[in-house]
């Protein structure tokens, strides 16, 4: 009996002590879908949060975008620290902001130029932020403007932006980075950070190109083709469409759909004891399109010619990226230093501090590409116009 009584008392206490501590109802949350971080002119941090209104966002989804109201609001606040700005945001927002649902962090160009290490600590330290959310740099616009962008196809811009970034898998013209990867690349020796960029184009946003960092500061950009070259060197291209000249009709082009890539790098030493690299890129692809088609791609020579131009194109893009990083930015985003570190840790120790400034811009890099074309889709040969 005593035990039963104790049990009842415990239950009573538990029931009355509810609704405090960490118990937060869904209705008491402001659902953040994206973060934006900008640097103001006076050197402070401006944090913008995109908060969705679930019912609006849902209604939009259900009725095919019928609702005319905007499904989200962007709230920003300026303070010395990220957490400070976010906490003080509660003076403008009724419910506590729920960070875990954030899909993407947009870093403004100015903020990135000043160094991103300042912002990173909070996102890694807070137990609510997700390591899987994407990070991207806005080019030419502030992060807030990107967050405020409305899309016709979706009422949840954060998710829309996330999906667009994930499309890089099929394009290869940029690089998608998760928060944890950003932290990892920042902390890794012999490899500089780089990540995708987002621009504003007309009434929508465009994700192409790569932002190059030196240490934690933004130093420049790679254009889409250089970016793809970079991705080829890193072996991170999942799929992309490579347009090469049709050997039978040089003014027209053939689209090769790259399906599988891998890359390998080899460290060699030149006669004067400097490191040099050979990057071997292996690519597999199908013929996706024969623009203004002419003749079947059956002949060995023709196929060889296409493969050859494929090789050349990839090599050109890769070298473009490498040269630009070496000459212009002096930032080893390709991770050659890491290879040196792995193979000769003692030598690396002696040159570590000078790697980006003295060694990396001068190392010799050879690129070898080996492409294979496997299929030609449903068509054996293009239709001949008679």
């Amino acid at each position: 009996m005593k035990r039963l009584f104790l049990f009842l008392i415990t239950i009573g206490i538990l029931l009355t002590s509810t609704a405090c501590w960490n118990n937060r109802d869904l209705t008491e949350l402001s659902i953040a879908t994206a973060f934006g971080i900008d640097r103001t002119k006076d050197g402070k941090t401006m944090v913008s949060v995109q908060i969705v209104k679930p019912s609006e966002a849902q209604a939009g989804g259900k009725e095919g975008g019928g609702g005319s109201k905007k499904g989200f609001v962007v709230v920003s606040n300026t303070a010395d620290t990220v957490f400070g700005a976010l906490r003080e945001m509660l003076s403008k927002v009724n419910n506590k902001i729920f960070y875990s649902s954030s899909q993407i962090i947009v870093i403004g160009e100015d903020a990135a130029r000043d160094g991103i290490e300042d912002f990173l600590d909070f996102t890694l330290r807070d137990h609510e932020t997700q390591f899987k959310q994407l990070v991207i740099v806005s080019k030419g616009v502030t992060a807030k403007e990107i967050l405020e962008q409305e899309y016709d196809l979706s009422k949840v811009p954060g998710a829309y932006l996330r999906d667009t970034v994930n499309n890089i898998e099929a394009r290869g013209f940029s690089k998608s980075m998760m928060l944890i990867e950003v932290a990892r690349e920042l902390a890794t020796e012999g490899r500089e950070l780089c990540m995708g960029t987002v621009q504003k184009k007309g009434t929508t946003t465009d994700i192409s190109g790569i932002a190059v960092f030196l240490m934690d500061k933004l130093v420049g950009w790679l254009d889409p083709f250089e970016s793809r070259g970079y991705m080829f060197v890193m072996g991170r291209v999942k799929s992309t469409l490579l347009e090469v000249d049709d050997p039978q009709k040089p003014d027209k082009q053939v689209g090769i759909e790259i399906q599988k890539t891998s890359s390998e790098r080899k460290l060699e030493w030149t006669k004067n004891g400097k490191p040099s690299f050979t990057v071997k890129i292996k690519v597999q692809g199908n013929i996706g399109e024969q623009y203004g088609g002419h003749g079947a791609m059956k002949e060995t020579e023709i196929l060889k010619a296409v493969t050859e131009s494929c090789n050349n194109k990839i090599k050109r893009e890769a070298l473009l990226a490498i040269r630009k990083c070496q000459a212009e930015y002096k930032s080893d985003i390709l991770g050659f230093g890491m290879k040196v570190f792995d193979d000769t840790p003692n030598y690396w120790k002696s040159i570590r501090d000078k790697w980006n400034s003295d060694f990396f811009p001068n190392i010799e890099v050879n690129v070898e590409v080996e492409s294979k074309i496997l299929r030609s889709g449903l068509l054996d040969k293009p239709i001949e116009v008679q």
Partner: protein, 362 residues
């Protein structure tokens, strides 16, 4: 008195759950960064030898608990002192673990909930388990221990597609962290097997004891290896020392779903076993020391004591981190893991041979 009978399967699972418990959230091998796997292997081998030694002690002193062995080896007074030392040692282990797991929950999921409440709830379950007796703990191990590796394996297998295998090279840049990591592995994982001297007398078969505990040890080694390799691949050697709870972070990185809260709760299971067995050893040894009939009335008292001590000894989580990262946490365990067992082993061997001689002369 020794009527509780544990089967060999139960003993093996209990060994597994107990040893795995402390590493569930914090793995000392991780201190060696990219060489963590070497530290683990090294620690595992050393631990293997330690455990063989402990098992041999219990074999020489068939059917005797740690208390009886100590008294027999060192005499009444010294023996009792040694028992008191071990009681304090197990209590210390319980305290460190209860605080560690309380902090873990507070940091990853419940930052606004008072720590004392989290720890009390955790302790409530532990008290109930310990009060149910060793036989129930054994049966519980059969039900729960097989569940423990599941999330580890799920998380690890979901990462198989990750291609980023860099980070294992170069091997053995620095030796010191590896040695320290290995020592940490022994002192926080395998050395604690000394506690099983309180459990081994209650097994029903002498025969398969070595086999089942060593098999559990093997499987544990494999599992720990999977964890270390997974963390190195997923988080990377450069970040691994920056995160307090690597297990939580790598659970969060499972692509496509967020299962980290589920994994976190599962990690608590291991801690539960660890604390429960520590509490059992403390109360049982105390009861035997003071010739109290049953240890069960002592359980709640010692549990409360452990919580109080957890707040008293360790003022903050940062302090706990500093302590568990320092060398002194390893040094503290040396008398309990190495010196006393070694003495016990030597004295037991001498006594055994004397007995044999006596038998021969007669």
């Amino acid at each position: 008195m020794k009527e509780v009978k544990l089967s060999n399967i139960q003993l093996g699972l209990l060994t597994f759950g107990f040893l795995y418990g402390s590493t569930a959230i914090l793995n000392p091998a991780m201190g060696a960064k990219r060489d963590a796997w070497i530290a683990l292997i090294l620690g595992w081998f050393t631990g293997f030898i330690f455990i063989l030694g402990y098992l041999y002690i219990s074999k020489l002193n068939q059917g005797k608990t740690l208390n009886e062995i100590l008294e027999e080896c060192f005499g009444k007074v010294l023996g009792k002192l040694a028992i008191a030392f071990y009681i304090l040692f197990f209590l210390y282990k319980a305290v460190i673990n209860i605080r560690g797991f309380g902090e873990f929950m507070a940091i990853v999921s419940y930052p606004e909930t008072p720590l004392i409440f989290l720890m009390s709830v955790f302790m409530l379950a532990v008290i109930y388990v310990v009060k149910s007796g060793l036989a129930t703990i054994g049966r519980l191990a059969e039900m729960l221990v097989p569940l423990m590796p599941i999330p580890i394996l799920v998380v690890a297998s979901s990462m198989v597609t990750m291609k980023n295998y860099s980070g294992f090279q170069p091997v053995l840049l620095e030796i010191a962290p590896v040695i320290k990591g290995a020592a940490g592995v022994v002192s926080t994982i395998f050395g604690d097997f000394i506690l099983f001297l309180m459990v081994l007398p209650y097994t029903n078969k002498v025969k398969g004891r070595f086999k089942s505990s060593l098999l559990a040890l093997m499987l544990l080694g494999v599992l720990l290896m999977i964890i270390v390799v997974r963390n190195l691949i997923v988080i990377g050697p450069v970040l691994i020392e920056h995160f307090i709870y690597a297990a939580h972070v790598s659970a969060q990185l499972v692509p496509g779903m967020n299962i980290d809260p589920l994994v976190d709760v599962n990690l608590l299971l291991g801690g539960g076993f660890k604390v429960a067995l520590c509490l059992y050893a403390v109360t049982k040894a105390t009861a035997e020391l003071f010739k109290v009939e049953s240890y069960k009335p002592l359980v709640s008292a010692f549990a409360v004591l452990a919580i109080v001590l957890a707040f008293w000894i360790i003022p903050s989580s940062i302090e706990l981190r500093r302590w568990s990262g320092s060398l002194s946490i390893i040094l503290v365990t040396i008398p309990a893991h190495v010196i006393l067992p070694l003495a016990m082993l030597i004295v037991s061997i001498i006594k055994q041979s004397k007995k044999r001689k006596n038998l021969n002369t007669i």
